[in-house]
């Protein structure tokens, strides 16, 4: 690129102006950036000579605030304010490692690389200024997007230093702040809010390509069903329809000039399904398969001491949870444009690299010939860890040789989805002479998500368990076990995944033990946690002190030791997952034998809090999501089909059922840990424990309102 055209390029790039500009972006390597005279010490950052500072976000924005929190981490070390930057959403790339957005991992996995990315740039900009001014680097500092010479006050913008800075070697180990943050820890407003209140935010379903067609697919609603034959003659006569065809073993696509015409035409389609595989399957049979599972196949995935040697009074209980659906507000969709030797995808996805690799394989292209752009996600909750939408869109685009958007209806999403697996839990405890537990056993019986997707548990360890199934009470003998069953029902990772199941069962059972001992549920837990100790569980070292702290703070904020008004009851629970500690107190009344939740106090210890504003949102979100799961979320199967179809028979919590939520965190200087999921698991047990306090009845199966 000549200097003149480079300047034109930069002028055009900068023309969008200051403030938040979201670009679709294929990140550049350092060499590519330098060839365009951009200062880009790493893939997360570019600075132009015109002082345009762009921070690249390599995770998907699905509501959890990564378009704000991740830039804050880099900007902190770079010494710029959020008003001085633009951000770009990275598409699928090879420069960032695993770009999956899930596992409450966005902040915890990018904290280190984004700090380093900002610090590298800062050090190089300081070096450039020092060289230009012929002064020692120690006498220069970076602040507010400027390098300043401490003695003379001489200043240069990062843009002015950009070209010179790119000539320095990228430091491998730049110094990082150890506190005294200017951005991290501040309750800053989100950068994406404005576009989300004026209708300009672009989600996958809003994306448009010139000449684009609109497709909907007829999929077999009987699980595992396939297309036997179809008659598309009537459909082809419908207004606006340009294509009807089978695009896979299990789906027929209808393509039209608009979404409505495609939907209408799909109704006229006659498909004969081969639904023989599972047409007799129902929820009762699935639950029976769990109950009848061969218990001799139980595998210990965590063991301490030897539960078999513990002697004393034995307590046992069994818990169960149903299939659940993620049901994000934005139904499935994806836009694809197959262009013969390459394919471009615009997807609201949590797994851009899976989209790229699977589409490439199906279309017979090299992965680098599939460009995956990430739009905003209208909710994820794990549903968009599947890449089914992208595959469908790519296949339809190839079939019609034109750009196309595939849209799912709510019923498609409810009935042809992946689901949180059903599970059965057998818990037992042995009480010693003093009445306190000396042994604890938790056996999960259920199908494995990873197993169904081709990565079965190894030695009983599902690859999700290390983040989601810890038992944090230092009982001397502990056995955590699983019996893996099979199901044809498609399984997916749903917000907090197995932690929801383990948390519900174990924290309800703890309450049973406390009740049996005639002890206060909080005091009982605090007694078990009274000794400071570390609990090593796979790669995480958990601290009883930190769990005790969240419990104590939740109890204090909820006024646990103060009497409640007549008719009010409360329950408490705590759980640790994704390396974060969470405790909740739920306050209820009973109305016509059903609980009404008035207040939830939620406390987390998630290490360093990057943005308390977003943390509060995440806690509120987890509480509401958890409340839906606890009260009503249930997917049932009848004659091989999902019974529920829309928000009338799968009813999320609305405002009239939304409690007052109080969110707190324990201040910490530890590196950040997860927050999107950890406040969820304590909700259901705390609620059921409150119901026990009110009624002396123990809820051992979710949903509560079945």
């Amino acid at each position: 690129m000549s200097p003149a055209s480079r300047r034109a390029f930069i002028r055009n790039s900068a023309a969008a102006g200051a403030g938040l500009v979201i670009g679709f972006h294929l990140p550049m390597s350092r060499a590519e950036a330098q060839s365009q005279a951009l200062f880009s010490p790493n893939a997360y950052l570019r600075i132009t000579p015109e002082n345009r500072i762009t921070i690249v976000v390599a995770r998907s924005e699905m509501g959890q605030g990564v378009w704000t929190s991740l830039p804050m981490i880099l900007a902190e070390e770079l010494e710029v304010g959020l008003h001085q930057i633009a951000i770009e959403q990275a598409g699928a790339s090879t420069l960032f490692g695993d770009q999956s957005t899930g596992g409450s991992d966005s902040v915890r996995s990018t904290w280190a690389p984004m700090r380093k990315a900002g610090a590298q740039a800062r050090e190089m900009l300081i070096s450039a200024a020092a060289e230009q001014w012929e002064v020692p680097t120690e006498d220069c500092k970076a602040e507010n997007g400027l390098v300043v010479h401490s003695f003379t006050g001489r200043k240069a913008t990062y843009g002015e230093l950009a070209i010179a800075a790119s000539k320095f070697a990228v430091p491998h180990d730049p110094p990082l702040k150890s506190g005294d943050y200017k951005l991290v820890g501040k309750s800053l407003p989100r950068l994406d809010t404005h576009s989300k209140v004026n209708g300009t935010a672009i989600y996958g379903i809003d994306f448009r390509v010139p000449g684009m067609k609109y497709a909907v697919l007829a999929r077999c609603e009987t699980i595992g069903g396939k297309v036997a034959s179809f008659d598309g003659n009537a459909t082809k006569q419908m207004p606006g329809v340009s294509y009807v065809g089978k695009i896979s073993d299990s789906a027929v696509a209808v393509v039209a000039d608009g979404t409505w015409n495609a939907l209408k035409a799909r109704r006229a389609l006659k498909v004969t399904w081969d639904d023989s595989a599972n047409k007799n399957l129902d929820s009762a049979a699935i639950l029976a398969s769990l109950r009848n599972a061969d218990q001799s196949k139980a595998v210990k995935f965590y063991s301490k001491g030897n539960v078999a040697n513990a002697a004393g009074k034995k307590m046992e209980a069994e818990y169960q949870l149903p299939f659940m659906a993620h049901a994000p507000m934005e139904p499935g969709n994806c836009t694809a444009h197959f262009r013969g030797t390459e394919c471009e995808i615009w997807a609201p996805t949590q797994v851009p690299q899976d989209c790229r690799d699977t589409v490439a394989q199906l279309l017979g292209l090299k992965p680098e010939k599939v460009k995956v752009n990430i739009t905003l996600l209208g909710g994820g909750f794990g549903r968009r860890l599947e890449h089914d939408y992208a595959v469908e869109a790519a296949l339809v685009s190839k079939a019609i040789n034109a750009p196309v958007k595939v849209t799912w209806t709510r019923e498609d999403d409810m009935r042809c989805s992946t689901y949180r697996p059903v599970s059965l839990h057998k818990l037992s405890a042995v009480l010693g002479n003093d009445g306190w537990p000396v042994a604890f056993t938790h056996r999960l019986i259920g199908p494995s998500i990873n197993g169904q997707k081709g990565s079965p548990p190894v030695n009983g360890v599902d690859s999700d368990f290390p983040d989601e199934a810890a038992f944090l009470y230092p009982v001397p003998n502990v056995s955590l076990e699983s019996v893996t069953t099979e199901t044809p029902v498609p399984l997916g990772w749903m917000r907090s995944v197995y932690a929801l199941q383990f948390g519900f069962a174990s924290e309800s059972f703890l309450d049973e033990l406390a009740a049996d001992a005639g002890k206060d549920p909080l005091a009982y837990r605090l007694h078990l946690l009274s000794k400071n100790t570390e609990i090593k569980y796979f790669d995480t070292s958990w601290s009883t002190a930190r769990l005790r702290n969240v419990l104590t703070l939740a109890a204090a904020k909820a006024g646990w030791n103060k009497p409640l008004p007549d008719g009010r009851y409360r329950g408490i629970a705590c759980f640790g997952c994704f390396s974060t500690y969470a405790a909740e107190v739920v306050e209820i009344s009973m109305e016509n034998n059903d609980p009404r939740v008035h207040r939830v106090v939620s406390v987390v210890d998630c290490g360093t809090v990057v943005n308390p504003n977003i943390l509060e949102q995440q806690i509120q979100s987890a509480v509401i999501y958890g409340l839906t799961n606890a009260l009503r979320a249930q997917i049932t199967i009848d004659k091989g089909r999902v019974v529920q179809g829309n928000f009338d028979d799968y009813q999320p919590i609305r405002m009239n059922e939304a409690p007052k939520i109080e969110a707190y965190f324990v201040p910490s200087t530890e590196p950040p840990t997860g927050i999107g999921e950890p406040p969820l698991p304590p909700l259901a047990p705390a609620l059921c424990n409150a119901i026990y306090a009110a009624t002396q009845k123990r809820i051992r199966a979710l949903p509560i309102l079945s």
């Binding site: 809010t193 989300k196 809003d206 979404t259 934005e330």
Partner: protein
């Protein structure tokens, strides 16, 4: 197919679609006003809410033939070129998470405040319970509606 003329956000728009086409798809596909969202297609969740002659309307179950000749306001036109006080309140309270349902939430809140400028908390809850948010932003929606009804102050 037939021609329909609607007045959308103060401008006349003519579209050529089948009469049963829901207003939602006319707005989104024909007029490229994608701030109004599709989520349930059955009038259950409120994500598609617009104002039709001032009344809160579920555009996903309102055929275009019914909207013909009517005054339609969508999230893009709510503030008529400026931010509506509710949009300002939504920003002040930093309400959205994924944001997908928020156009509908704001249109519902605007319909509430147009009739009841100073709603009680119960009135807010009753009215806003027509809308679903899977991210669970209800606490901040309540705060934002209160803020807007108090003239921007908290």
């Amino acid at each position: 197919m037939a021609e329909f003329t609607l007045r959308v956000n103060g401008t006349n728009k003519t579209v050529d679609v089948s009469p049963d086409t829901p207003l939602l798809w006319v707005l989104r596909d024909s007029l490229q006003l994608t701030g109004t969202k599709f989520a349930c297609g059955a009038g259950l969740c409120g994500a598609c809410s617009v104002h039709m002659n001032g009344a809160l309307t579920r555009s996903c179950i309102t055929p275009v033939s019914e909207a013909s000749g009517k005054e339609i306001v969508t999230i893009e036109g709510l503030g008529a070129g400026h931010l509506h006080p509710l949009q300002k309140a939504w920003i002040a309270e930093d309400v959205p998470q994924c944001g997908y349902c928020q156009s509908g939430q704001i249109m519902a809140a605007a319909a509430l405040l147009a009739k009841t400028p100073h709603p009680t908390d119960d009135e807010i809850t009753d009215f806003m319970s027509g809308n679903i948010c899977r991210c669970g932003t209800y606490e901040r929606i309540r705060r934002a509606v209160r803020r807007a009804s108090a003239g921007g102050a908290k």
